[in-house]
Amino acid sequence: MPDAHFYHYDDYDRTLVRERVEQFRDQVRRRLAGELTEEQFKPLRLTNGLYLQLHAYMLRIAIPYGTLSTRQLRQLAAVARKYDRGYGHFTTRQNLQLNWIKLEDAPDAVAMLAEVDMHSIQTSGNVVRNTTADHFAGAAADEIEDPRVWCEIIRQWSTLHPEFSFLPRKFKIAVTGSPNDRAAVRVHDVGLRLWRNGEGQVGFEVIVGGGLGRTPMIGKTVREFLPKDELLAYLEAVLRVYNRYGRRDNIYKARIKILVHEIGVEKMREEVEAEYAAMKDSALRLDPDTIEAITRQFALPRLVHKPAMVPEVERLRLEDRDFALWLKSNTAQHKLAGYRIVTASLKPAGAPPGDASSVQMEGVADIADAYSQGEVRVSHEQNLVLPHVAVEDLPAVYRALQRLGFAEANVGKITDIIACPGLDYCALANARSIPVAQRISNHFANLAKQHDIGDLKIKISGCINACGHHHVGHIGILGVDKNGVELYQITLGGDVDFGQTALGTILGPAVEADRVVEAVDSLVATYLEARTDGERFVDTYRRIGAEPFKERVYGNPQ
C-alpha cells in the first residue's frame, strides 16, 4: 500500500489527540453521571464535533484540507459501521458527518479515529473550525503553491488555542494556492490566497469578513501581500481583534463579517496591523526549517512518467459515449501530462447528495490504493477526488467507480447538486433539502441533456444558515417555512469559481415543494433559448438579467 503524500502525524500530534480523547471521555462520563449540566456540557461536546440533531447525535469528523489516506478512509467506514448506520455524509467544509451516533459511544468513536490520526476537534463551537483548501491541491496544473502546507500550519496553531477557544462565534478559514479559487476563499471569515508578486515572491492576500448565512457578505482584502512566514502572527492579530471586539450580544451579529461591516475595512485593517506590529518579532514567526519540514511532506509523489496519449483510452472514448462524457466532466488536468485528477461523483441520479456507505468508502479506498497513490480528497461540493490517476488507468478506474455508482458523468453539471442535510436531519432547518435534490436529480438524469446544459451549480440550503451555500449557487434554493408549509426561494447568479465571487439575487416569491422542479426546468429552458455560443447558464444570466427568467417561472406580471 503506497504511503500518502501529505502531512503525517508525529508523536506530538498523536499525544495531543489522545489526551483530548481522554478529556472528552471524562467529560461525557461526568455528563452522563449528572455532574455536568447540559449548559456546561454543550460547548464541550460541540468543540468535540458532537451535535444533537432531530433524531440522534451527529458527529462531525474533521478531514483537514480535505485530504485522506486510504487507511483513514477505511477507518471512517469502520466507525460508520460500528457506531452508526453504515453510511456518512461528506460536507461543504470537507468534513464527514455521521448522523446516528450515541453520546455514550462517542468517546470510543473518537478513540477509533485517533488510531488513524483523525479527530473531531473544533468541528463545531465558537472556535476556529477545519481549515479548508482546494480539493485539487498538490495536483492541479494551475497551482502556484500547495495550500495544504499552510492549512496544516494553521491547523496546529488553531487547535486548542488557549486565547481563542471562546470566540463570539465560529471562525472559518480557507486557503487557495491557485488563481482559480476552488476553495471559495471570499466567503470565509478569513480567506488566504497564495500569489506571486512582481518580485517573484510568493505570499498571501488576506481577505477578511466573508461569509454566507443570514447576512451573506464577500470578504474584503485587509492585506494585499503578506510574507508567508508571517502568517501565524497576522492570523493571531486578526483573531485577537475579533475576540476583543466581535459582538457578543446577538448570535446573528457575532461573526467577524459583521464587525468588518460595522467598523469598515479601513478601521479593521488599522486594528489588525497595529496588533500585528506589536507582535511581529514574536515566537509566531515561522522558522524556515519548520516550513520546510512540513512542505516536504506534501511533495508530489514520485509519479512514474506515463504517456498522455493512450490508444486504449482513445478507442474507448470513441466507442463509449458515457465514458467520453465522464472523461470530459469528471476528470481534470493534472500537473503531469500522463495523469488526470478524477472526481468520483457522489451524486448518482436520485440519491441523497454527498452520502456514501461504508462499503462504498472502502471501494473508493481500494481504487485509490490501486490507482491514486493511496490518497483521496473530499471536495467542498460533496464529492470525492482521486488526485493522481494515470491516463492509462482511466478505463479501469471508470469501471471500478461504476460498480459503486460513483461514475455518473455529472461533475459540475445540473445534477451535481450541493445540498445540506435539511429538515430530515437538522434541528436548525425550516424545510427539507434532500428530497428536493433527489427530484431535480431524477428529472435531469439524462446525461446528454446535462452536458448540453453544461456547467450549472445548484446549491440547496434548508435554512438561512446556508450550509448548502445556496448564496453562491448559479441557481440557489433556500428552504423557508411559512405557516408550517415548506416553501423554496430561488436565487440566481451566485458564484465562487474562477476568481468570481457573487451572491445570488432573489428571483421572486418562494414556490411550493412540488413546483421546484418545474421552476428549475423553466430557468434551464430560458437559458437554452437565449444562450449564445459558449455561454454557461450563469454567463447568460449575467448578460440578459433576471427578467426573462422571472417571466418564465412566474408568468407575465398582471
Binding site: 496546529q156 488557549p162 486565547e163 506589536a278
Partner: protein, 133 residues
C-alpha cells in the same frame, strides 16, 4: 490557588477589570498592581483570555492574575496557559481538578507566555540535534 468567591475589598494594589477594558490603555494604573482580577461573565465569553495574555506578555505583568465569575474546571487548561494563576470558583471539585489540569495536556502547539516549549520548537530541536549528530 482556588479562592472562594467573596466581595472584593479593593485593597491597595488590587485591580478588578471588566472584560471590556482595553488593558493596553491602563498605563500607570498598572504600577504597583499586585493582584488583577479579570471577569468571565459567562464562561463562553472569552475576552478575559486576551486581557490575560496582553497583561502577561505585552505588559510584563508579574503579579497575581485571578479569574472570577463563571470559572469552571473544563476551562482550567486554557486559563493556565493564558497566565491566570488563581481562580475564584465555587464549582464543586475545582481544587482537585486544578491539580490534575496542570498535567492534562503534555503537548501544546501555540507559543504563549507560559514558557512551555511548543511542538514546533521541540521538532526544531530534534532536527538540529540530528543534524549535529
Amino acid at each position: 490557588m482556588a479562592i472562594p468567591n467573596e466581595e472584593p475589598v479593593q485593597p491597595e494594589g488590587m485591580l478588578v477589570l471588566p472584560n471590556t477594558v482595553d488593558v493596553l490603555k491602563l498605563g500607570d494604573q498598572l504600577d504597583g498592581a499586585k493582584l488583577i482580577v479579570l471577569e468571565f461573565p459567562k464562561f463562553t465569553d472569552g475576552r478575559a483570555y486576551t486581557q490575560a495574555r496582553l497583561l502577561r506578555e505585552r505588559l510584563g505583568y508579574k503579579g497575581e492574575l485571578r479569574a472570577s465569575g463563571a470559572v469552571y474546571v473544563d476551562q482550567i487548561p486554557f486559563m493556565l496557559r493564558c497566565g491566570f494563576d488563581s481562580f475564584a470558583s465555587t464549582q464543586k471539585g475545582f481544587e482537585e481538578a486544578l491539580v490534575k489540569a496542570r498535567k492534562k495536556f503534555s503537548v501544546v502547539y501555540q507559543p504563549v507566555g507560559d514558557g512551555r516549549a511548543t511542538a514546533a520548537e521541540l521538532r526544531l530541536q530534534r532536527i538540529r540535534t540530528q543534524a549535529a549528530a
